[in-house]
Amino acid sequence: MLKNITLGQYFPGDSLIHRLDPRTKLLATIALIAIVFVSKGFCGFLLIAAFILACAASTGIHLKFLIKGLKPIFFIIVFTFVLNLFFQTGGEELVHIWIIRITDEGLRMASFMAVRLILLVVSSQLLTLTTSPISLTDGLETLFRPLQVIHFPAHEIAMMMSIALRFIPTLMDEADKIMKAQKARGANFETGSVVARAKAMVPLLVPLFVGAFRRAEELALAMDARCYRGGAGRTRMKQLKYQTIDLLAALAIAALLAAVILLNRFGPF
């Protein structure tokens, strides 16, 4: 059950997008998110969706992984949709039952918000599915480095992030093991009331926390033993370098932005 979480899971591959510099991918994702917000109509969304799907197709990642990643936020999408549907009052009335009124404006707004949410999640997923956590934090550290002038701890934050990311699979594995061990002792995690299920988590969470602290201590010791003393003066084996494909990616994003702005103005819907 714990193995089904794909949000933030790296999917190894060797496509163009996989080979992009992590900084390019980070900036492109931020730009893509901005473009999703820039778009004012479904025309723009259609284009963005086509762009994302083309990118996804080129990476060789099966579409079902992108869809699977939407599962955790499925509830939020439905919630936003329903909220917008019922509480948007402008426009022509379509349905009116008792106090429930659905207008064409509401329907439009609701689908608009839902599509926007889906596009946001899918575009950021494309980043985490195609970038290994290590290169992601490397990219972040390099991007944040200029902020060190104002004492922003870029290296420390990147280090914390990579440690956190590094330990997610370890902790999930451990959670899986503990869960199995407690299930073997007759524990029940799946059925029962909300309170019963929350209580059932105690035998899982206590050993998990104890283990996390033990690991943290061991890791700190191991880092200390290898003379870790922060980012100052640290060199790296893999230097990040922009290449031609990074320029192409930037151009593609710029073209998309221009197209979406044009569609906002001249698009039919």
Binding site: E174, A181, Q182, A184, R185, G186, A187, V202, P203, P207
Partner: protein, 283 residues
């Protein structure tokens, strides 16, 4: 037949680049009162295999049976199965969570829905069985030493009074004295009438304790049979990263040097006797 497995295949994360075939058409039978050893290299599928013994990993119907109950069927009562098959995982001390040792041991029996008096009786008996001091019952499990913690964890499974006990590397990571004590404990549990399945990669341990062995290699059963039958294949065992007991190695070397050593001996006493026979000129 307490445990019967017919052609069990298990694939992790099918349809992804992480797809891994952990087990491939594994069949085995465990009879009442036996002491079975499962041996294999790291990643040979041992842990996946034993997870099927009490339905933690599910398979298709008609594959895994415990006391005749098909664990693949959807409506099988899993709590009932777990009452019969006790599973002690590797490094079980990391699963302790309660405030006191007694409460932690009581976790299993309580999940079985037993009444308080029975739970208390079982906890006391389990503490005694694993050789812990009765005063340990009110201590926090986190105060105990590594070996003691492991005993508490085993007691937690024994308190469910399973008729089949499966232990995954019970002696892993213990010092030589702790190792010896742990194996003695497993032996005494078996002597009390429990069917025991022990996963290990120490040939010396399984050779000394087990009635029958299953050797797993890359998710398949490479050899099975009595220790003597298995240890005959020492060359092949070596190829798959396993070994035979030291005494069996000695016997083989002596046989190759021309001495009269019977095939398939591996117990220290048997090898000793064979050497003595040779020294006394076959008398």
């Amino acid at each position: 037949m307490p445990v019967e497995i017919k052609k069990l295949t298990h694939v992790y994360m099918p349809g992804t680049p992480f797809e891994a075939r952990a087990l491939n058409e594994v069949s085995l039978n465990i009879r009442d009162g036996e002491f079975i050893g499962i041996i294999g290299h790291t990643g040979s599928g041992k842990s996946t295999l034993i997870s099927h013994f009490n339905g933690l990993e599910r398979s298709q119907p008609g594959v895994v049976f415990v006391n005749g109950v098909d664990l693949g069927e959807k409506d099988t009562d899993m709590i009932a199965v777990r009452r019969v098959v006790g599973l002690v995982f590797q490094y079980p001390e990391y699963q302790l969570f309660e405030e006191t040792v007694a409460k932690d041991i009581a976790f299993g029996p309580r999940n079985l829905g037993l009444d308080e008096a029975e739970i208390e009786r079982r906890v006391a008996r389990a503490i005694e069985l694993v050789g812990l001091d009765a005063s340990a019952a009110e201590k926090s499990p986190f105060e105990l030493s590594g070996g003691q913690k492991r005993r508490v964890a085993i007691a937690g499974v024994l308190a469910m009074q399973p008729s089949i006990l499966v232990l995954d590397e019970p002696a892993a990571g213990l010092d030589p004295a702790g190792r010896r004590d742990m194996l003695e404990l497993v032996k005494s549990i078996h002597a009390s009438g429990v069917t025991v399945v022990m996963v290990s990669h120490s040939m010396d341990d399984v050779g000394r304790l087990c009635d029958r062995l299953y050797v797993l290699n890359k998710g398949e059963i490479a050899f099975s049979g009595t220790p003597a039958e298995v240890f005959v294949h020492d060359q092949r065992l070596h190829e798959i990263g396993l070994d035979v007991p030291e005494c069996a190695k000695l016997a083989r070397k002596l046989r190759e040097a021309g001495y009269d050593m019977p095939e398939g001996i591996y117990r220290m006493e048997d090898v000793r006797d064979a050497i003595l026979r040779n020294l006394n000129g076959g008398k």
